[in-house]
């Protein structure tokens, strides 16, 4: 049995963990990181990055399909395209490979020692790792738990065979003929849309009255419209019941109470993610919990001294960039800097078609807090650049305080609006007022002009509407 000691031990090399380790390494903290699979975690390996690769491939395929069908308004026509999904997946895997290798390289450059294997707490200062070469014991002054999350499994639809999680969906070698998606949240809709574009007949089953329930109806309307245009069938208020006896269909209790049978060769279950709190010895250290999550304070400290937790294991929103910011902060705290969580917004992007971006408070959230607001939206149908991209659906919406025009929230739905999240986040984090956005020159012609116009409109003098 081998033993090593270090100042900082990070368990899990997902976005939160690897950022934490790199930053700690930069700051001269003697750091070890443990990862059971590959660096990059869910995000790089089976989440954000591969899904975006597949979504892009699906978009491209749909475009050329439309051109081949002679329906392209751009006047381009060509012969029918062919799809080799295995090659697409291989391309996606190369991207993932480059990124995970890159992360490993960055860790090495920051002089972080990487240990591959499954970690398990022995006590609050000691972790044992089952590596290929035997048991490795690591003693650390400070330990950061960054174990992440895993897809939620439904008891009546256990993963395996036709029932798949997002992980398997990203590695399919063939486009399923018919795909049933259980759960109309962002993961299900992103992947469902991609497979619909690749030619699958997709049905989405959502238990709540509408898709993307965390967003307001105004924001999700263009997405619902697009799903319909793509031929995706959306059953809201419907409950999945299980597989049919033959295993070739999903049984659903529809909103009206009647039973429906949805023929599908694959059933993708995307009903959420759960914190990964089992199998690594959490019971040995008995940390306070917040529901299923590990309870943390504004410095990501757990209830045990010297143990921090970051990322999905600590709660919503389960987003890579939240974990990254927490990881960076914890590394600096460990290095002796004074830091605490003071972020004003964690922007969120949903890569549906069209994309949805949110930062800060929605109009309803602001009102619920008792704040008097001003809010307006500017539609992309009045934006020149959006027209040239065939992306006139959607809008940018700003929520500001009525009294001093402080921007509280910015939402957008539209083609490619994910890139606007940077501007939205910056505006809120800097404490911008409507006048700040209105007084900033936004380059023409870009979709970002809709952001400027939304601010002007909220101030009562939009120029292009």
């Amino acid at each position: 049995m081998k033993e090593i000691s270090c100042k900082l031990l990070v368990i899990g090399a997902g976005p939160g963990g690897y950022i934490c380790a790199i930053r700690a390494g930069q700051l001269g903290v003697d750091t070890v990181i443990v990862e059971a699979v590959k660096p990059g975690g869910t995000c790089l390996n089976v989440g954000c990055i591969p899904s975006k690769a597949m979504i892009h491939a699906a978009d491209e395929y749909l475009k050329v399909s439309e051109m081949a069908g002679g329906t392209s308004p751009l006047g381009i026509s060509l012969s029918a395209p062919a799809l080799d999904l295995a090659k697409t997946v291989a391309w996606k895997d190369r991207i993932v490979g480059r990124l995970t290798t890159g992360v490993a390289g960055l860790l090495k450059k920051a002089k972080v020692k990487s240990v591959q294997g499954w970690a398990r707490f022995r006590d609050g200062k000691t972790v044992e790792v089952e590596t290929e070469t035997g048991l490795q014991v690591i003693r650390a002054e400070t330990i950061v738990i960054a174990t992440g999350s895993a897809p939620v499994e439904l008891p009546f639809l256990p993963f395996g065979g036709a029932v798949i999680s997002s992980t398997e969906a990203l590695a399919l070698k063939q486009v399923p003929q018919a795909l049933a998606v259980v759960g109309g949240g962002y993961i299900g809709l992103e992947l469902g849309t991609a497979f619909a574009k690749l030619g699958a007949k997709v049905t989405v089953v959502e238990a709540l009255p509408r898709i993307l329930p965390q967003y307001d109806a105004e924001l999700t309307r263009p997405v619902a419209k697009r799903l319909e245009a793509l031929g995706v069938k959306v059953l809201t208020g419907a409950k999945a019941k299980g597989l049919s006896a033959k295993g070739d269909a999903l049984l659903v209790e529809a909103a009206d109470g009647g039973e429906q049978k949805i023929v599908a060769d694959k059933v993708l279950v995307t009903v959420g993610r759960k914190p990964l709190v089992d199998g690594w010895g959490l019971e040995e250290i008995d940390l306070d919990r917040d529901g299923r999550f590990i309870r943390i304070d504004e410095q990501c400290r757990t209830s045990m001294r010297g143990i921090y937790a970051i990322g999905d294991v600590t709660g919503e929103p389960m987003l890579a960039h939240r974990a990254m910011a927490q990881g960076e902060m914890v590394a600096e705290i460990v290095a002796g800097h004074k830091r605490s969580w003071d972020k004003r917004s964690i922007p969120a992007v949903c890569f549906t078609d069209p994309e949805v971006v949110t930062a800060g408070l929605s109009p309803d959230e602001a009102k619920a807090l008792g704040i008097e607001i001003k809010s307006s939206q500017f539609p992309f149908s009045a934006n020149g650049r959006a027209m040239t991209l065939l992306g006139e659906d959607g809008f940018v919406r700003i929520v500001a305080r009525a009294d001093n025009h402080l921007v509280l929230g910015i939402q957008a739905v539209g083609t490619g609006v994910s890139e606007l999240s940077a501007a939205f986040g910056l505006a809120i984090e800097m404490g911008a007022r409507l006048e700040d956005i209105a007084g900033t020159i936004h380059a023409h012609p870009t979709q970002g002009e809709a952001f400027l116009e939304a601010a002007l409109r909220t101030l009562g003098h939009a120029l292009h509407i």
Binding site: H337, D342, N404, H405, E429, M430, G431, D436, G460
Partner: protein, 446 residues
């Protein structure tokens, strides 16, 4: 949506411009009719500008310290309520009058600026309105000005401090709780400067040894302070001062004053030394009229005044002010005392009018208990003489056979040496000395 443009009113006879010294509102504020919007200063009078309408402040047209020509727009107010009477009215005349131009020249002809100086004038103030110029509010300038009004305003309870990530990081590292820091930026945002200011004030943690301090605080010289600075510089650069100090035995005067105060009617003001000095001054300048004069040095003319209008330099919370006791020659000692009290109160309360603060022909300056032994008073330009009162002290005086305790007071007086010779100055002060040492002479005719 109607919009009211408020222009700088004619705040005094012959006044072409005024300095903006205070904003009472900021952009976005809702104001009621008659609520004070701003204060402007001309010469030494401060005039408050009320709102003629209910509405929301859209735009402020000047920074504190700016000099604004009479008639130029200073505030735009959005008339509250959509489609209301005010809003409808607002749209109509705009077609006739056209959009207001930012031309700062005073309004010509009979057109009234749309603002009244006082409440009584409000009614007759024309409901002049104008359509918002295209792209109307100027958010950049407006933000900065709006911010000026929010300086030091505390955040409402429970509201998170507003600051950029860089400011938050600096505060964290410096151990500063941003909730304690007031923000001067737009919407109360805490700026780097605010943090610097807070740190400079808050870093008074005593440490061992002496510390070198390098911070420099910049204070804009505005309003009354700027007026004083300009006037003092003018007086000292143009007038070659001659200062003459003489001691006065005020034992008899103080006895008389005490007796008069003890036996006075209850409705009469308490007498200080000032009314006696004023009456003595009236007597002295009757013999030397060249001292009660205005020297217009640009025109090369001395205006000798028959009326004695005595400026009395008074310390106010805002700084030095000089209210004027007019026609001291026509006032008896009680009347002088009453007027002195009234003007001192008005000056301290900031309610002195422009008329009460101008038109003096000679000035008395006194620092009272802080009077010191001697001073070198600066002449209240364009006058030619100023009399400074120093502190009364009991001093041992030689009466020819022995030292006796006497109440002694020095007078430090300055004269414009261009037009007053040293001899005349000495004669004048000696005359004052004779009057004050034998106070009965003040009250005797001839």
């Amino acid at each position: 949506m109607g919009e009211h443009v408020i222009k700088l009113p004619d705040v005094g006879e012959g006044v072409a411009e005024a300095e903006l010294v205070e904003w009472h509102v900021k952009i976005g504020d809702l104001v009621r009719e008659d609520a004070v919007l701003a204060a402007v200063m001309t010469d030494k009078a401060t005039v408050e500008i009320p709102s003629p309408v209910d509405g929301e402040i859209l735009w402020l047209g000047a920074e504190i310290g700016d000099t604004v020509p009479v008639g130029s727009p200073i505030v735009r107010i959005k008339v509250a309520g959509e489609g209301g009477v005010a809003a409808t009215e607002a749209e109509k005349p705009s077609g006739v009058q056209g959009t207001p131009t930012p031309d700062p020249s005073p309004q010509g002809g009979g057109e009234q600026p749309s603002i009244a100086v006082s409440k009584s004038d409000t009614s007759k103030a024309g409901k002049e309105t104008a359509k918002a110029p295209t792209g109307s509010p100027s958010p950049l300038g407006g933000g900065a000005r709006g911010a000026a009004a929010t300086i030091g305003l505390p955040r409402p309870e429970g509201e998170r401090p507003l600051a950029s990530p860089a400011v938050r990081l600096r505060a964290k590292e410096a151990g500063i709780d941003l909730r304690q820091v007031s923000g001067t930026g737009p919407a109360g945002r805490i700026t780097h400067d605010d943090l610097d200011g807070f740190a400079a004030r808050g870093s008074a943690v005593p440490t061992a040894g002496l510390l070198a301090r390098t911070e420099v605080e910049e204070i804009k010289v505005i309003g009354l302070r700027r007026r004083i600075a300009e006037k003092m510089a003018l007086a000292k650069s143009r007038i070659p001062h001659i200062t003459y100090v003489e001691e006065i035995d005020v034992t008899a005067l103080e006895e008389l004053r005490a007796k008069l105060n003890a036996s006075k009617k209850p409705d009469r003001p308490k007498l200080t030394l000032l009314p006696f000095l004023m009456r003595a001054l009236v007597k002295a300048v009757a013999e030397q009229p060249q001292l009660n004069a205005i020297y217009d040095d640009d025109a090369g003319v001395i205006q000798r005044h028959a009326g004695v209008h005595i400026g009395m330099a008074a310390q106010t919370p805002g700084g030095l002010m000089v209210p004027v006791v007019r026609h001291a020659e026509a006032r008896d000692i009680w009347d002088c005392a009453g007027e002195v009290n009234r003007l001192a109160e008005a000056a301290k309360a900031g309610t002195a009018t422009r008329e009460e603060l101008t038109g003096s022909t000679i000035t008395i300056t006194s620092l009272g208990a802080m009077g010191g032994v001697a001073t070198t008073p600066v002449i209240n330009y364009p006058e030619v003489a100023i009399v400074g009162v120093n502190k009364i002290m009991i001093r041992p005086m030689w009466d020819g056979t022995q030292f006796v305790p006497r109440k002694m007071m020095n007078l430090s007086s300055s004269f414009d040496h261009r037009v007053i010779d040293g001899w005349d100055a000495a004669v004048f002060v000696q005359r004052l000395k004779a009057l004050l040492e034998a106070p009965a002479m003040i009250f005797v005719e001839g």
